[in-house]
């Protein structure tokens, strides 16, 4: 038998006994762990913390308030520089109208997305949040990520604490975790956003914890990063979550596993299981159908996931089943979860 198989078994056995693997052991799992081994361990961990088998999902919509972004990272579709003829920036009222429309279609969360830029007055951002919240007070408004906050800090010369405080006061409900080491280390355009990535990222995350703004931690991979870099990110999430919890607010509500469709379903499921194994202190791990399709996202429900994330109603090209492409709906989510022998638990926010 391949010696690494035994090693995987030993590490996973330790994990199931409540031990946290070392960085070297985590890298070994990332490199060598088979799908069946990792998914079995991760599935068992989920069954322990969530014995009823409840699987969360949310009806939500991503709304672009602007398509202007300075870095132009190669993985991002649809952003342009501010000089482009296609550049747009919408008024807060326009964005609020779209949010209200989404709410009328059942959305309980809107994710406001724009780029990293330096040419809008600061007041645009709190005003955007305020206007949407005023129009749709019952909808959770999630926006901005650590790299955006860092950009704001540099452009508007405000402290992280003040930026988050002002956004919170405007009504911001939740923030996006944004940014994995893979992006940071492998994509120079993105790397340039944060001068000192980990401390800046940590400062924003803990700032959100201080203001009791929950976050989603995305785990994005598949950009040519190494196993060490993937593990590095997951360890950082675990560490900062420990710190936030010690301060009274475990800020990360869900670890969302994303990757573009160039990554195989097999690798996606391996990494999702790894995320569950290495980050036991984030309550939920969410699979995502956008790039992997509903089939793979559903299979993850026995391999470490107990959430399926948002329906992203703006996206109508999801691979829902064999030969069936369309928009993900609440009833489709519930079917996928039920077929997997789990109980659908619709949530209203993070």
């Amino acid at each position: 038998m391949n010696p690494s198989v035994t090693e995987t078994g030993e590490i996973l056995t330790k994990v199931l006994r409540g031990g946290r693997p070392s960085r070297e052991e985590a890298v070994s799992l990332c490199r060598e762990g088979t799908l069946l081994d990792l998914a079995s361990a991760a599935g068992e961990l989920v069954r322990r913390v969530n014995p009823a088998g409840r699987v969360g999902y949310i009806v939500n919509k991503t709304i672009l308030y602007s398509n202007v972004c300075r870095p132009q990272c190669p993985f991002c579709e649809g952003t342009v520089t501010k000089e482009s003829a296609e550049a747009f920036t919408r008024t807060p009222e326009e964005v609020a109208a779209e949010a209200a429309e989404a709410a009328a279609r059942g959305a309980t969360q809107v994710i406001l997305q724009g780029g990293h830029r330096d040419d809008l007055p600061w007041e645009y951002y709190p005003s955007l949040i305020r206007t949407v919240k005023k129009r749709c007070p019952e909808v959770q408004v999630a926006a901005f990520s650590p790299s955006e906050i860092a950009t704001f800090g540099a452009v508007y010369r405000k402290s992280v604490d003040r930026l988050i405080g002002e956004l919170k006061e405007a009504g911001l409900d939740a923030m996006l975790g944004g940014g994995s080491p893979s992006l940071r280390t492998r994509i120079p355009e993105y790397r340039a956003l944060l001068r000192d990535p980990w401390p800046q990222w940590r400062e924003v995350v803990l700032g959100c914890a201080a203001y009791r703004i929950p976050m989603a931690a995305p785990f994005v991979f598949g950009f040519g990063e190494t196993a060490e870099e993937r593990v590095e990110y997951l360890f950082r999430v675990r560490e900062v979550q420990d710190e936030a919890a010690a301060a009274g607010f475990p800020v990360f509500r869900v670890l969302e596993v994303f990757t573009l469709s160039t990554v195989s379903g097999l690798e996606y499921l391996r990494m999702l299981a790894l995320a569950r194994i290495l980050v036991p202190n984030v309550a939920r791990v969410a699979s995502n159908f956008l790039y992997q399709g509903a089939k793979v996202a559903q299979v993850a429900l026995d391999g470490g996931a107990d959430d399926m994330g948002g329906t992203y109603m703006e996206y109508d090209k999801a691979e829902l089943a064999a030969g069936r492409v369309g928009a993900m709906t609440a009833s489709e989510m519930e079917r996928l979860i039920s077929v997997a022998g789990r109980i659908p638990a619709r949530r209203h926010g993070l």
Binding site: L12, L269, A321
Partner: protein
């Protein structure tokens, strides 16, 4: 023992014991597996069964499908089909023998070793159309294996041309026909059969035609169309009937579960099978079918993503290059029609398995030594 096997849950332990001691699983075992919420545990059991019974090669074939016609007398019978058309339908087509020979020659230049040829039940063509296209293709590409017709077509020929099944098969063989395809089984249980294709040839007749073919030394593959109106017991029943036939004849080379595609069919209100169910079916088939060498994960209808994952759920064949698939693509399939051989090899490697290019009857033509995928 792998870690996954060390964590098999208690309710599946009796099945684990049986797999480890080469005991046959029962109908009840099949039901328990179908109903288990532990998908990866079922996968680990199926992976174990595959490893113990048939080893670690994953087979593929350099093949091409040629669907000779979509005109079908059963057009109004099979509610799950998006392929069959009436003879006056503008979307109907029937290839001439010259067209087929031309396609076959072009495919042969790409290294194709097998032509997979099925079509609708054409109400107008004489029997000579079939024997002529077989001999013409065989003459043009003598090394190719012609895997033609499902049991449903054979049954139709037998009734329409007033010949026994034996006579049909022998005359086809004389023309150069090599083996039968596995389509047309749908789901044997009458409760399901009567809902999805009332009036179509029965499951018993399907099995009878395969039995006759095997007696004549003609290999076949067999299938099951799932993901429509069936219940777990119907799935287990279907698979066990195939196991019984295989005990009797040994003539089945592979079992191929076929995922129902609802788009453009008269059952388009159904959502179609999920990834969970796809993998469950593959794993349960591997565990129950202890007398089959190949459980095939047909990437055309599962998606290459799920087909690759299924290599850890008991599948050891991912079909082939296919090149021109019509039946599933009329039913909305979004998969490509062609996977290059290199792509199939990479997909198998990436799953940690050893690709083996095969011929129709599972002789290995070439093994591609595994290379660790980077990252």
């Amino acid at each position: 023992m792998s870690f996954a096997l060390s964590r098999i849950p208690r309710d599946l332990m009796p099945i684990y014991e049986k797999v480890m001691t080469d005991q046959r699983l029962t109908f009840e075992d099949g039901l328990k597996l179908m109903e288990s919420d532990n998908l990866f545990a079922v996968g680990a059991l199926a992976d174990l069964a595959r490893h113990r019974r048939v080893g670690d090669y994953v087979y593929f074939i350099n093949n091409a499908h040629i669907n000779y016609s979509n005109i079908c007398a059963l057009r109004n019978v099979c509610r799950f089909c998006a392929f069959g058309k009436d003879r006056n339908d503008p979307a109907g087509y029937t290839y001439t023998i010259e067209q087929m020979v031309e396609k076959a020659k072009a495919y042969a230049r790409l290294g194709v070793t097998e032509f997979h040829m099925v079509g609708g039940l054409h109400p107008d063509m004489p029997f000579s159309y079939y024997t002529d296209f077989i001999s013409a293709i065989k003459q043009a590409v003598p090394h190719a294996h012609l895997k033609c017709f499902t049991a449903v077509e054979i049954d139709y020929f037998s009734r329409k041309f007033r010949m026994s099944v034996e006579e049909v098969l022998l005359r086809l063989r004389e023309a150069g026909h090599g083996s039968l395809t596995g389509g047309g089984a749908e789901m044997f249980h009458p409760e399901v059969h009567n809902r999805i294709c009332p009036g179509k040839m029965s499951g018993d007749r399907y099995l009878e035609i395969h039995r006759i073919a095997h007696r004549l030394g003609i290999p076949t593959t067999c299938t099951m169309m799932y993901g429509h109106v069936e219940e777990p017991r119907h799935v287990v029943d279907h698979i066990l009937r195939l196991r019984d036939l295989q005990d009797e004849t040994g003539g089945e080379t592979a079992f191929i579960p076929l995922a129902f595609h609802p788009t453009n069919t008269r059952m388009s209100h159904l959502p179609g099978p999920t990834g969970w169910y796809d993998l469950k079916i593959i794993a349960v088939a591997r565990l129950l079918l202890d007398n089959f060498k190949a459980i095939k994960s047909y990437w055309i209808m599962l998606s290459p993503r799920i087909a690759q994952i299924s290599l850890h759920f008991g599948a050891n064949d991912i079909d082939g290059t296919v090149r021109e698939e019509k039946i599933y693509h009329f039913a909305g399939a979004t998969t490509p029609m062609l996977q290059e051989k290199e792509e199939l090899i990479r997909l198998i490697w990436e799953a940690g398995k050893i690709p083996a290019e095969r011929d129709t009857v599972y002789n290995i033509l070439k093994v591609y030594e595994p290379q660790r995928a980077a990252g």
